[in-house]
Subunit: 206 residues, 4 copies
DNA sequence: TATGAATGAGCCTTCATTCAT
DNA sequence: AATGAATGAAGGCTCATTCAT
């Protein structure tokens, strides 16, 4: 099979650009989580990724761009997976449950990523404003829409603002994630998704 | 009245040490909130406080100590005021309401302080671990106790862990505060305390 | 005619090596003039020349070599043309005039080249020493010889050192060129050659 | 003499700011001249001045500012001394002679300064434009005025533009300075001032 | 001959902290 | 107690050059 050989040779020559980007991003998540964004040096990230320091700058604009890219890639993937798992789920309450499970499952399966999301990404109001005004907003909107749908269907109380309710639900989930990474106990974060949703749904039910 | 005399002499000579500490802390809150902890320089804080840079080190161990002191002073004052307003409040649900109102009221009346609390204090996992293991724990404990009390009294459902419920309530309140500082709209943060508690109580009620 | 065939084959395959060198050199002149030697990157020069960065190193030793080559090629061409136009000119004063006209005409017809010559080539004493000890010396020698000849012929005063006089003449011409590139006004640089020579000749005449 | 003691103590405490600036500037001239502006590191300059690297930034905005400051200080001092020595000199030709002597004398008495002026300051068109449009312009203007005055007095030919003539004179002087620093021979640069002026005056005389 | 991804040495600048006064 | 000039460690980023293909 000369074709296969040829193909693997090409792989050996250089990893596809996307793989290299991914490699750097994974190294950054690990380093940022364990040393903190400010204490982790770009050179450390490069070393962890097994490349030269300068190479990072072929794939990212600068150190900040690493953090932003981690956020964007993860949120994008999360939203894509969210859309996928929501397919066919028509019950709005079930939709909230699916979202919550996905939210905590993704963070719960990668502690480093969770630390970056719950701690390092909240470095400064500059980052926060950038993040909360874009993809995070999409996530909250999806929640709000499900809540509003449940209100229209008579399942949830009308007198509570859907926007407010979405924030409350998100806040509770977010706190579970933060507590999880700060806790010395090792428990399954995803297991709390249903508890949060149950509490929330009960609070919203007519 | 030697005591009074002594006291007034100190006042005449210069501001009392406590006042100077306070002065620096207030300057730090302002600068940290507006420029971010890392971008605000110690010299800026000193200038804002109207003192020399070196003087900061007569009152604080270093820059980090400013952040820690802001947290500790605010939490201490908050807990003290909490104990005060809780005095005579025996109903556990009412206790939660009082705490929530106080929480959002304090942050809502000082946006700079709120920014420091919601953003700057979450710089790194190092800070987070320090904070969440001390005074913040006290706050959560107070909430958990009220919740457990409500459970014992048959008001709240027993099957929900009080610790879990306290996190959920705290998370919802925390998110309201974060959203408030990031929002361009100017609304009364404290006004959301009751909404959060209502939602929570309903969710916990038998 | 195998030779011709061979030659055209080379042309068909790619540009002849000399053309490629020339291409890179022209790109370098443009970039060095507009961004400065230090700010212009080798990759920029390559892009401007329409080749890959690495290819530059097949034709030049390094970035410095580009600058040196620009100088040497231009001086060589200048000296060649100088010898050509001096052919048949026996009057030493006329020789000076021809040289001066050529000097300013060449710079005046290519502003980028003039900038490189008047500014970028004077980066460091290292370059300066290299340049002034080689081809520039030849140019000054040619001037000095003409001046000495005019002195021997009784046209120019003997008491002035020919070497000194050559420097003065060169300096005046050089300043005209520098002023021209720095001036916002667009005038014909070559037009000043005669004025400089007239002034100089009058100063040297018995 | 306790007063004197007191005074010297104050000197020991800290040099006057102007002295420190001067100290750094002298170190910069030395380093820039010997290693070139780009090869000389700020840390080197600081070490040469006997201070810490950071201290440079208390007195100068950055590395560029060192170069600019050298130029400005030297030109300012030169112009001041020029005004002084021109006092009482009414003959315009004598004025030119005085200026030329001063020009070459100042450079000739400090080779490092001369190197910085003749080589390092001409790094880039950016610097050149800055310099030639300010203090250097003043110098040329002073020359032009003297020339114009000599023309009005009937001493110099009218048909030569005074601006052009000033450039020619400056160019000749400038070239003497450049040649001097590049030459291995050690001769008195100032000694050439009269030769240049003689040549020039003769060239301009009716 | 040509490519261009990767390298990694090199440096300016910032700023928390100190300390002589 | 207060000052503020001085310190010097630390690190993000650039870019000339290389080399496997």
């Amino acid at each position: 099979m000369p074709l296969a050989t040829h193909s693997s040779r090409r792989h050996a020559r250089a990893q596809a650009p996307e793989d290299k980007r991914e490699l750097i991003l994974r190294a950054a998540i690990k380093l940022f989580a364990r040393r903190g964004f400010f204490n982790a040096q770009v050179a450390d990230v490069a070393r962890e990724a097994g490349i030269a320091a300068g190479t990072v700058y072929l794939y990212f604009k600068g150190k900040d761009d690493l953090l932003i890219s981690i956020f964007e890639r993860t949120m994008r993937e999360g939203m894509e997976e969210g859309r996928k798992v929501l397919t066919g789920v028509t019950d709005p309450v079930e939709q909230l449950r699916v979202l919550a499970r996905l939210h905590l499952a993704r963070l719960g399966e990668d502690r480093d990523l969770a630390v970056v999301f719950q701690v390092e990404l909240r470095q400064s109001i500059k980052f926060m404003e950038h993040f909360s005004s874009t993809l995070l907003q999409d996530y909250l909107k999806t929640m709000r829409n499900a809540i509003a749908e449940a209100q229209r269907g008579g399942r949830f109380r009308q007198e509570v603002s859907a926007t407010f309710a979405a924030k409350a639900l998100f806040g509770a989930l977010d706190e579970m994630a933060t507590n999880w990474i700060l806790s010395r106990k090792r428990y399954a974060l995803a297991g709390q998704a249903d508890d949060v949703v149950d509490l929330f749904v009960r609070g919203m039910t007519q």
